[in-house]
């Protein structure tokens, strides 16, 4: 129930942002549509801690996003330098890196963060870790030091 309520608030907030027209009739229509969307989601049985992870909302996620943004810009610069160097200095490797997250959601966050960072690409999530394709040996070594893994596990928290 908590999840359904929070989903309603989130979806209606999205509707308000995207609409920009605030007459009573349209507001009521938006509310009706949102109720319908939540009802459909409930019927599909996707309104749970995984489909709607409200337990992640807190101060940790914005901090992590900020850190991730810096990482993305740094590695974009690195990959950019490789692309622009006359001798394409790449050394691609495909290896499995350990993942310390307990929940599936935590692993998905980790795998998505890996893919989002230019130069590393998750290809498969398995029981022992995440299979990663890295553009350079150096990029793989940096990932294996586990800084990102530790941060994602912190974000995941207790759940």
């Amino acid at each position: 129930m908590r999840h359904a309520l929070s989903l309603f608030v989130g979806l209606y907030g999205l509707w308000l942002v995207l609409s920009g027209h605030y007459t009573p009739f349209l507001l009521a229509m938006g509310a009706a549509c949102t109720v319908f969307a939540v009802a459909v989601a409930l019927r599909m049985d996707v309104v749970d801690h995984e489909g709607h992870p409200m337990h992640l909302v807190g101060y940790r996620i914005p901090l992590y996003w900020g850190w991730l943004t810096i990482q993305i810009v740094l590695s974009a610069l690195q990959v950019g330098r490789i692309v622009l160097s006359p001798r394409l200095r790449i050394d691609p490797v495909l290896e499995t890196v350990p993942a310390s997250q307990k929940s599936d959601l935590g692993r998905v966050i980790y795998a998505n963060s890996i893919t989002l960072t230019p130069g590393t690409l998750s290809t498969s999530v398995t029981a022992d870790g995440i299979e990663v394709h890295a553009l350079t040996r150096q990029g793989m070594d940096e990932l294996k030091q586990g800084g990102m893994d530790r941060r994602v596990t912190q974000v995941e928290g207790e759940s």
Binding site: A76, V79, V83, P92, L94, N112, T115, L116
Partner: protein
């Protein structure tokens, strides 16, 4: 005025990242390395260009919508890249590698 300059700097940086991404797309040897190059364009490139647009829009509903575009991009882009790479691997494509591989048995 200052906002205009910031906006143009940001859009310029974004355009440069997208140019580099496109160049990498041509220079890289196989699918996986090309995805790496493309991800420069769709994270850093798109991000800086959207930031430049936000400077133009100021504090308004439009900026909120631009933020939403960025959020959706950040959630969907890695999913697509992952699906592409996984499909290539499952299809039996062997990643290009620096060392010469052993001949197949």
């Amino acid at each position: 005025m200052i906002v205009d300059i910031l906006s143009w700097i940001s859009i310029g940086i974004g355009a440069a990242f997208i140019l580099v991404g496109g160049l990498g797309l041509i220079r890289m040897p196989d699918v996986f390395t090309r995805v790496h190059a493309a991800s420069v364009a769709d994270t850093a490139g798109a991000g800086f260009i959207l930031l430049g647009f936000m400077f133009q829009a100021g504090l308004s509903l439009t900026t909120l919508k631009l933020v939403l575009i960025f959020v959706f991009l950040v959630f969907t882009a890695p999913t697509a890249s992952h699906a592409l790479a996984r499909a290539a691997l499952l299809g039996g494509l062997v990643p290009w590698s620096r060392k010469p591989r052993d001949p197949a048995p």
